[in-house]
Amino acid sequence: MAGQITQGALDAMFNDPDRAQQQFPVPILQCLQIKTLDSKNGGAGATERFRIVLSDLKNYVQCMMATQTNHLVHDGLLQRGCIVRLKQYQAQCLKGKNILIVLDLEVIQSLGCPEKMGDPQPLGPRSAEPQQNPNLGSTGFYGVKSEPTQDTKPQFPRQMPSRNASGGQGSSTIYPIEGLSPFSHKWTIKARVTSKSNIKTWHKASGEGKLFSVNFLDESGEIRATGFNDQVDQFYDLLQEGQVYYISTPCRVQLAKKQWSNLPNDYELTFERDTVIEKAEDQTSVPQVRFNFVNIQELQDVERDATVDIIGVLKEVQEVTQIVSKTTQKPYDKRELTLVDNTGYSVRCTIWGKTATNFDAQPESIVAFKGTKVSDFGGRSLSLLSSGTMAIDPDIPEAHHLKGWYDSSGRNNTFATHNNMQTLGGATGRKDDTKTISQVKEENLGTNDAPDYFALKATVVFIKQDNFAYPGCRSEGCNRKVTDMGDGTWRCEKCQINHDRPQYRYIMSVNVNDHTGQLWLSCFDDTARVIMGKSADELMEIRETDETRLPAEFEQANCRKLNFRCRAKMDTFGEQQRIRYQVMSVAPLDYKMEGNKLNELINSYNQMSM
């Protein structure tokens, strides 16, 4: 196993990055220690940061984990001793010590967590070791207190909350956006404006004002910035979408108000009077857009109301329609698109306003969305936020990948939807909670004024055999009970027609059980038909012709486990009030989906007990 570790990688990463790129493009290291950093100056929303020690058997070095890798520790994947693959990092020298910033890390789980291997020595700062490397100059790292010496590549020194030092940074050095925090006193970022909002004004009792906001992007991440009142005048015209600027302190860094932003950053910027914003001559060194895609299959794990980016092949485009908002009476243009991707799933995405009316992408083109809200309508569906953007056939690797997949196999695929996530296709949008029978009784479902709807997974245990159907009117849409006139005809009072035969409709009481209790449900014609497997007419005929077969029919329908969607309502029978449970629809179990649901439930038990 020691053979797997890329020995000497650390030395190269710090002292000869070019060689590190060539020889150790993905260093494999052992994690010797993990420590949580308490940010004492953090205040309310201190970000949790982890400090780890990584060794390549020859040396070890302290590392800071970027917050996007925190989940590895939270999930218990990253532990002392385990072997990791370092996918993205920044090697720096701060205050004479070598620090590694881990931007992306993968734990090689199959190697387990062995004891500390080798006898790694601390990777001392460059000055302590004799350099044989001629590439010294371009790869040198400069300490924090330094020399404003410029080098050809921009620096990414990062202030860490626990080492909240002198704070002095040469203003010529550029911070990564990911490194911005309230603890950084002086910084400059070089970023592109990915979106700029309109000027919004408000009038309140406390005063009135105006604001605008922009989203900034660089290689490390994104952050939202807002300018109020005077800063609107100062900066609104200066900042153009798509252009790259240098933004320097003074500029306030605060905890982000997530409800106004679709960006994942914990912080956001507020422009101040002395904030410096300069247009950058070099417009190309900053990425254009940064996507954090979720594939369509993963959407089912995303909570509703979350914001995600998504990319897919455009399968269907609907026409633009207009709907009027019930609350504001304003008309909105909307258009629905269907996206598919190589996970075999499809999802509907709605776009609004100008984006909808001006939409002209052809089916089969690749469309990427940034900033869509996830809803659980129809299982899972997406809606492009007003702050979101759309890119058609973007020139990014994911788009090419999808195009390749679609051309080769995707075109002919049938795609699964998340529609079966709501237990029984509730297009009405009512949230059907799956309940156990004991929950139905304990929660007194049905005792409120409005009927309660719930979903139930239970087994039919007994079907009442007397009075399972009534003679109904044959007329279309009329289900009234018809009366036997005695002369062979059946009269419907509502339609005033005499039928020669009634159409029997089920009115069946079934007793269902699950592991928590039993419940009597009443089924009407359509649902009972699913349970019995026959129409009421057929069953009545069997009763007429050969009564002995009847019990067999009920026997066959018995003991089936089904998904019921039910309504609980209070009914008054004379003086008595009783809760009646009616079955709205019934469906057989999709074993795979139910199995996966149970698996998740079991996993959640595990997490709770930990």
């Binding site: 795979k592 199995g595 996966n596 698996n599 595990n606």
Partner: protein, 108 residues
């Protein structure tokens, strides 16, 4: 006869723990060679089939059998599961089985 026994569900990784015991395996048929089959259950398993086994390549199969010392399986019963088997779900069941062992396995 109070014959308490269990046939816990396992995948390839657990074979060594159950040598000499009866186990259940759900996997995909990779190769069929006469009375021998190669099954993929989160890893490769060799299975020695019996007369009644009618398996098809690429289909899912549920095998019940005894684990030999060389970690192959002597199959006593087999069920062809066809296509469309969710192997992730089947493996998840194995994980849960071993997480809550007392529920599923008789130790004697």
């Amino acid at each position: 006869m109070d014959n308490k026994s269990s046939t816990p569900r396992i995948t390839c990784a657990y074979l060594s723990q159950y040598v000499g015991k009866l186990v259940t395996v759900v996997g995909k048929v990779v190769q069929l060679r006469g009375e021998e089959a190669t099954i993929d259950a989160d890893g490769t398993i060799h299975a020695f089939l019996n007369r009644e086994a009618h398996l098809s390549a690429n289909n899912g199969v549920q095998l019940i059998g005894k684990v030999n010392p060389d970690l192959s399986i002597k199959v006593l019963s087999s069920v062809d599961l066809g296509q469309g088997v969710d192997y992730n779900l089947a493996n998840a069941v194995v994980e849960v089985t071993h997480r809550y062992k007392p529920l599923f396995v008789y130790e004697n």
